[in-house]
Chain length 407, copies 4
């Protein structure tokens, strides 16, 4: 019979919040290879954004605190040079918080890929998470199945790797001293946080040297870029740099397009991620593992029909200029083309949260780098395809905006 004695839940590990990558952050727990375990995660901002109808919380968000990570988790037997195999078994919001949000950040506080083009003011959309689907009272007429994934996941860097990061990024910063926005973010003691009891010299060293969480690096890290290769059901192969591997994770997303268009472009949520791990000895050498590799999940929202926009590396601000094989410009162009199309229907904020796919096209056919952006038509309740009669514009309301009404 099914009894309490033979029904044991998978253990949930106390989370251990921190917001820097550093080898001296001690593991909060140790797991055995093969064990299934869960980790609770706050959202990336540490619960600064609420389920409400103004964007003031986005406007005033304190970004020195990001990204909140849970961990590290040590894996028995993992040593530098090994490969840590991580199975992402499930990701879900907390039962008591079945919602997430997408934000457009102020140009002065967070910005985003198009912050300058649009002189961005804070806005947001709240998404209700109903099982596999998200819908939003702020973006009616759309429902889609999410590709839940962690925004940040990585092993701890070694002393040497951390030093390499700080050196090379420091040189880039030094070469672009007055750049706005900054080209990179050096270690910053202000706001550095490790939610454990630590000797003060260790705490200070972590704050002084710890790598910021914004870019992805050789250990994984910020994985906005890896979209659906991290969705539930995926297997990840991380290089191990320290004893125990020391895996941390955070910034859970219910869904995200291929690129964070609005700085915080995913449907951000707090929740629980379920893992199991194994260790392949010497895996870094065996697999030429300079960076993580991935086996994507067989569980995939399938939207077979897509409408595809392309962008070239020309004319990004209406200046008619020819850029030289610049994939970033081409990507912006593709996104702007898609936005122009969707605005004819009545949509705006949608793109960054929807399961959009972006492909790098040719970067050898000088001078035009080319990028495409594919929007699944099945996420809309109505037909968005090109019709001989043109596109019917509807009123899809408006995102949550600032309480002072500035948009």
């Amino acid at each position: 019979m099914a009894t309490e004695a033979n029904s044991v839940p998978h253990p949930t590990l106390i989370s251990g919040i921190h917001n820097r990558w550093h080898p001296d952050i001690p593991p909060i727990a140790t797991v055995k290879p093969g064990q299934t375990f869960k980790i609770e995660c706050v959202d990336w901002t540490g619960a600064q954004i609420g389920n409400n109808d103004t964007s003031d919380d986005v406007k005033n968000v304190d970004l020195t605190k990001v990204h909140n990570l849970s961990g590290p988790i040590a894996v028995e037997g993992a040593e530098p040079g090994d490969c840590l195999v991580v199975d992402i078994l499930d990701i879900k919001p907390f039962d008591k918080m079945p919602w997430g949000y997408t934000g457009i950040f102020e140009l002065e506080n967070g910005g985003g890929l198009f912050a300058r083009e649009f002189n961005s003011k804070a806005a947001k959309a709240i998404w209700d998470i109903n099982g596999v689907y998200a819908t939003s009272r702020h973006i009616p007429g759309v429902r889609f199945a999410g590709v839940t994934h962690p925004g940040l996941i990585g092993t701890a860097p070694s002393v040497e790797l951390l030093s390499t990061w700080n050196k090379r990024e420091g040189e880039l910063i030094a070469a672009h001293v007055n750049s706005v926005p900054p080209v990179a973010f050096p270690p910053e003691p202000i706001g550095a946080y490790v939610g454990q009891a630590l000797p003060s010299d260790v705490r200070e060293r972590i704050a002084r040297e710890g790598a910021r969480t914004i870019p992805g690096r050789e250990h994984g890290g910020n994985c906005d870029r890896l979209i659906d290769f991290l969705r539930r059901g995926s297997r990840c192969y991380f290089p191990v740099f320290v004893e125990g591997a020391n895996l941390s994770v955070g910034d859970l997303h219910f869904s995200q397009g291929d690129v964070s268009m609005s700085f915080c472009g995913a449907i951000e949520m707090a929740g629980i991620i379920t893992f199991s791990t194994s260790v392949i000895k010497g895996g870094v050498e065996k697999f030429a593992l300079k960076q993580p590799i991935f086996l994507p999940s067989p569980v995939d929202p399938m939207y077979s029909q897509k409408l595809v926009f392309e962008g070239l590396s020309v004319d990004i601000h209406g200046d008619g200029k020819q850029y030289n094989m610049d994939a970033t410009v081409a990507y912006k162009q593709a996104a702007l083309n898609a936005i122009a199309y969707l605005m004819k229907i009545g949509y705006n904020l949608l793109l960054s949260a929807a399961p959009v796919e972006s492909h790098v096209g040719a970067i050898v056919d000088s001078p035009n780098a080319c990028v495409t952006l594919a929007i699944p038509t099945g996420i809309f309740e109505h037909d968005i395809l090109p019709h001989p009669d043109g596109l019917a514009k509807k009123d899809f309301g408006q995102c949550a905006i600032r309480s002072d009404g500035v948009v």
Copy 2:
């Protein structure tokens, strides 16, 4: 009964080779909206590469002649500002030529994305096309279903659009006068070709002003970038710039990865493409049609299991350098990571022809642009997944190389 009287083949249009984009190239034929028709295409080099076992033809290829286009085809009723809907109904090699090729070009003659990293010498692989599959005597152990598509397709530019192209690309060239390889290619009378009887002043004007076929532009053009959105079964929406639209097409591919890694990275072939068209009046305005948009085909080779590599914008030549959000560097990195992995198994030239998918990851998480590259495991006859015991290296022979043995 089935008789000759009630069995009429779709018409095949005489091809009309040309290798520049210009409004003054007259249509070689006119079709009605709704009509199904076929166009014969030579390969992009004009049959300079043969089905043999040395790469001398690649080494000595005359690149002033490229790309060979077939057309233009005028569509009744199409006018500037309209949208030309083109259905790509089928693409196949000539019955008498069931083969294609992938080439690595010499650094001094063609080059390619990695030409300098590897000091490229000419090499090639011949692929046998057996129905939906390609196999190669030069790359054993691999078989894959192709995503056949045209490498170049586009409507003719208007006088004004051609002028815009020449102006903006000329300015870029002027700003990078000594760049190797050149940043862009200005109009070049040498090698310009239009296979029609034309008044000499028209022929000279086309040669003098005609846009080169290397980059993609607002009318379509070189579409290496658009990979599977142009595969058979896809629907394309082109802006119309001249009376009749004047559609041209060429550079048929049996298959191609997301990026031309080896300059001529697809499986290049000669063959026949089948189209039908329709016209949406005023479509440019109706759909905010700055560039073509696409409805991809429902007919898609489905390889669900993929192994995914990522690249960051750091350390491209082993220099440890931090690049500033450079998606091209990140792409190269992803490709090099994949190549390092595949070399442990014994492969090299494969990647550019295989149905590899590349995604642009985050380009907002300064300073690391991130790009991923996904290889379908189902195209290999043997297991390429990471195993605890490592990867077994096999001898997969060698591509066709130069007859002087230089590699």
Copy 3:
């Protein structure tokens, strides 16, 4: 900010167990159209089967108690003739019970499709549910992503519909009085259960008239047959026969093949199902709704490579007999062919729980009805494809068997 005030979980409704279909079972709760809600379900046997390593609980299971249903739930505004739209938003095991089971039932107690062929003795396999995946200590070497779904779901029958069922099934039983196993199951007061306080005459009427839960009928009901059209993310359109529709659900499965080969062939589990509903007035007439129709979920485990076996309506017991267009014989044949193949590798119980697909082939090409059965190769840790050297047999251990050792 994210606070308790703005974080409200979806309500979980007290379940209300019953095991007959009858119009007089009162709703245990009423929901509004559009509301998301959860229902807790015991497993179909009412927790008689345990997470242990003998099959004695299967051998001794009390089948008069099945199937345990949760509900009914009334939907505001639903009336006879309407269509009740039910969105299946999520299905998961209880956190404290991350496991399920597959059972082979004794010929004398439950039987199954092949009970007589194999003179079945009780056996079972316990599956650990780790997020999206199931693995079993009793069937090593296999891991697959589940297609979670409810085994039973339906609206309550009206007095008239219940009467129709009892009449037509009674006539069938009368025409096959001594059939073993019985051709159908008449109402049976013994074991009938409704977990609510009811007047004794109502309770007796339900026990006396209530339809058994074994077959599917016009209202839905036992939906083993509907496999992945009921998986999470699917939308179902049920005819409404009584005021409020009175939806009941139970018999949750983590996974199941297309046919219950071993009587209880799915991975059976207890857990929680999340729904939302809406009502389409007059939907029965609008959609010619004789039985439910379904819009399957876009969220689908994708195993693209499959190995396919076929069966014909001949020679089912080795008798060489020609059956007359009998799809059931053809299905058994296909399954036996697949079992013969898998036994060469070392597997046995697997088929009924794996995400196997079965298609009805021709039933017009007399005399051979034909059925196919497709097994996804990606669920195995090792290669099961036909190789020139044949198939290597491994020891995959054994299911849990009876404690007396009889197999």
Copy 4:
């Protein structure tokens, strides 16, 4: 250079029409394992049906001539007990005949699954094949990508196997002497045909003993049932019964649903099929190969959204009767439910030619066998989903009917 010398087409084998299965039909050609070759096929009726707008040719079709097969082809080295691996590389209509047809046959001449329900009169629809798509002037508003496949393919039976077939089918016929339609078809000299010069005693023996082509059997044969497992790109494993295997093929289809609902339910066409083969020695024993097994193609039309109908084994002629686990009745019910739905939109003949999928549901939940039928919504130019307002009926014209106007 690409020259005639290095461009050699795959050989096309002279077809060799025959319409019986018999070991004494000599191979018309011999191929080597690994060789790619093509076979030309007439349509199954031998070109009796024309591209025109009346159904008189269907009404008067001579069915004693069917099915026309091309072959046999001997494969070097294949012996009884081996496994013949057949790769189906491509299938296409003749260039000069880009069309096919779907027919409803007269109850008195061919019939079909629903012939009696509807008292069928001859009707047909002509489909234009435009590359990967079919459209019909007789069924407007629908376009779909075909799953081209051969309707019949198989190896030659041995003397013993042929004898087994004739014995078991003869016994069935003997047990149902007056059945209409007949339960099976015995050898029939009238209409038997082998398009080769043969000694008269051999020709007579073939006519007297040769198995009819209507059902599928252990060697393959009529494979309507196998739908997309035979589409281009698929690999088939056939048991070999005679020296050389002697493969024959015919009855090419551009597309077909899971079951031939209208007797000749596919889009029938004449055309060319491309094969390559290999031999696995002793494969029958190695793979427990009682019947063919299949590895389906990775090239698959992908229509992710489907509307699903179910059928139960009750009430097939409106008689309210309870059938006993009859999957054929359940299938008819599912089809009738789908037809009732589509008639509300205005369609009728469509179902049998469209890429419909049918699944066998439970055949253990007595007394109701259950079958589902899934229609891809993407093949319709307009929305067919259930809407709160109901379904709009349109006029989709009418199939080609008899010239005497009887329908």
